[in-house]
């Protein structure tokens, strides 16, 4: 729907308020879980973190457990909401599709300057794969965390086998979570992906960026203004992209202030006429 696209400002809405709230509830509580979880390991006192100003509490395992619990409530509720809400609405843009694995390899190669990117839908193929990976990691820390919590509150003498499984899986998967988080940050820091960063803070990305990189998304998004997307795809196919891309490249990643980007000029003029 055209309500998503604001040509004046060169913006296209990428995430709704709800999606932003979900992302940040998960991200902030996830970071709180990471920090408090690490302090649940006997390391704050050992590495003298307790003597840093403002970190005296880090050696108190009951305090870190309380923080871990509070963050868990947000984390679990957000994850469960996400699963049920988007599941029921059949919103599957982030789920992997056939051929994503192969396509991801190609796309990752382009990050290192090899070959050219194919036109994307809303999400990149490797983003969809990363999403499933992250979802799996989150599911395991949540399930094992729930077992650990149940043991703490109701059953200190829970079967040792179960407690061992829950504890060690929690430990292995919190390490995987740290790696996945690092990968996530690493991915958005990559230059071609950087325009997505403003999206996760404000909800919208540059229209020229979307037109150039995510034409399949725009086509889907705005059935009432197909010209923009068609135009973009045509542009891509006719090799005009190369020009657009180099221009973009020389804009040294400036991606926020509207009007100052070369994208404005690169935007197909035809769409303006159309409206």
């Amino acid at each position: 729907m055209s309500e998503y696209i604001n040509e004046e400002k060169n913006r296209v809405a990428r995430h709704g308020a709800l999606e932003l709230a979900e992302h940040w509830a998960l991200a902030l509580s996830g970071l709180a879980l990471l920090l408090s979880g690490l302090f649940e390991l006997p390391m704050a006192a050992r590495f003298k973190i307790t003597s840093l100003p403002g970190f005296g509490w880090s050696g108190d395992f009951i305090v870190s457990l309380s923080i871990h619990y509070i963050a868990s409530v947000v984390f679990i509720a957000a994850a469960a909401f996400h699963l049920v809400y988007h599941g029921l609405l059949q919103e599957r843009g982030l789920l992997p599709q056939e051929g994503d694995l192969k396509a991801s390899v190609e796309v990752v190669k382009t990050f290192f300057g090899k070959g050219e990117e194919p036109p994307f839908a809303k999400y990149l193929p490797e983003q969809r794969l990363a999403y499933v990976g992250m979802a799996f990691i989150i599911a395991v820390v949540i399930i094992t965390g729930l077992v650990k919590t149940y043991k703490n509150v109701y059953a200190p003498d829970l079967s040792h086998g179960l407690v061992l499984w829950a504890t060690w899986l929690h430990n292995i998967f919190f390490v995987l979570f740290i790696l996945a988080f690092a990968g996530h940050i690493g991915a958005i820091v990559l230059k071609p992906n950087r325009p997505m960063v403003r999206g996760i803070f404000t909800g919208s990305v540059r229209l020229d960026y979307a037109a150039r990189r995510h034409p399949l998304w725009l086509a889907q998004l705005d059935a009432s203004a197909p010209a923009l997307a068609v135009e973009a795809v045509e542009a891509l196919e006719s090799g005009e992209t190369a020009a657009v891309m180099t221009e973009e490249g020389s804009a040294n990643g400036a991606d926020d202030a509207p009007g100052e980007t070369p994208g404005d000029t690169a935007r197909p003029a035809a769409t303006k006429d159309e409206r």
């Binding site: 006997p42 050992r46 919590t149 200190p156 430990n171």
Partner: protein, 332 residues
């Protein structure tokens, strides 16, 4: 320069007399065995009976425990890796004979408390070891599940998986677990960066319990000051004993309840005030289970999936009906 405590003398005498009475009557028909170690167990330590084995070189319970446990630890590596950055190595392997406090090689010791009684000052002897608490943070919060509370009530540290991080010691209100550096899996990972040995404490002779035998200290005591049995029976006996002597119980509510009940004719806060305290020498004060404060939040965590699912269903239906409305409008 120990403080003296004035205990009501007549009460003390009376309770002493009562204690001797039930002592002689009850001692022999009291089951001291763990009945094959099944079901929930508890132990009773009767301070009116313990005489500290003053006639012996070392208390019988302490020697028995040392005999069965001290040799079971492997020798630490030499040199012991120095942990970064604290450089704190705890090595008791050359002081295995120490018996006046808890060490990795001394899992029970007999504490002394001087109190004023009728015939002048009197010394009470208090065998001290892990209390095997009902919901012990030392075990439930172990990051490797190396320390665990078992169905029979015993709280046991597995020396094979313990890293010696001493979180259990920090969380125990009596700081019972003691560290021996230079032993354990941590040596195979990053010995100077992670872990620092293994933690050791009384495990209620869990191996003996499995064979239906009695823990070594209980078996060894010539005074029959300690006993083990089904939890409900031990609790009932402790109550009855305390009622008879007009005495006091320690371990029933401390740290949220334990499976070790001390019965004494002298109030425990008085004993707490006079016992020698320090590392490996726990007090006898009133201690709360600090982790209880997190139980409410823990319950909220367990409810969080339901909250999230309910919100997701409600949200999805709201969004669907909005979509329908919009489609209707667009059709018109």
């Amino acid at each position: 320069m120990k403080k003296r405590v004035n205990v009501n003398r007549r009460g003390f005498l009376k309770s002493l007399a009562a204690a001797t009475a039930i002592g002689t009557a009850g001692a022999l028909n009291v089951p001291r065995t763990a009945e094959a170690g099944e079901g929930k167990l508890a132990t009773l330590i009767d301070l009116t009976r313990c005489n500290g084995c003053v006639d012996k070189e070392s208390p019988a319970c302490v020697s028995a425990c040392k005999k069965i446990k001290a040799g079971s630890l492997p020798e630490p590596v030499d040199p012991i890796p120095v942990p970064f950055p604290t450089r704190k190595v705890e090595d008791w392997s050359k002081k295995k004979e120490v018996a006046h406090r808890l060490t990795p090689y001394n899992l029970i010791y007999v504490q002394q408390a001087q109190v004023d009684a009728d015939g002048g000052p009197k010394t009470l002897f208090i065998p001290r070891r892990c209390m095997h608490c009902d919901n012990p943070a030392c075990a439930t919060l172990c990051p490797f599940a190396a320390n665990h509370k078992f169905e029979n009530g015993a709280v046991v540290i597995d020396p094979e998986t313990c890293f010696g991080g001493a979180k259990c010691q920090t969380l125990c209100p009596w700081q019972i677990p003691q560290r021996q550096s230079g032993i354990g899996v941590y040596l195979k990972v990053m010995p100077t960066m992670m872990g620092n040995g293994i933690m050791v404490k009384c495990d209620l002779c869990t191996d003996l319990l499995k064979e239906g035998k009695t823990p070594a200290c209980i078996e060894a005591c010539p005074q029959k000051a300690m006993s083990i049995g089904p939890r409900s029976e031990i609790y009932a006996r402790a109550e009855a004993l305390a009622a008879k002597i007009g005495g006091y119980i320690y371990g029933k509510t401390e740290n949220g309840g334990t499976s070790t009940l001390y019965v004494s004719a002298v109030p425990f806060d008085k004993l707490d005030a006079v016992v020698h305290r320090g590392p490996g020498e726990p007090g006898l004060g009133a201690v709360k289970r600090r982790m209880a404060g997190t139980d409410g939040m823990g319950k909220a965590v367990l409810a969080a999936p339901v909250i999230g699912i309910a919100a997701g269903v409600a949200g999805a239906f709201a969004a669907l009906s909005k979509r329908k409305d919009r489609l209707k409008k667009e059709k018109r």
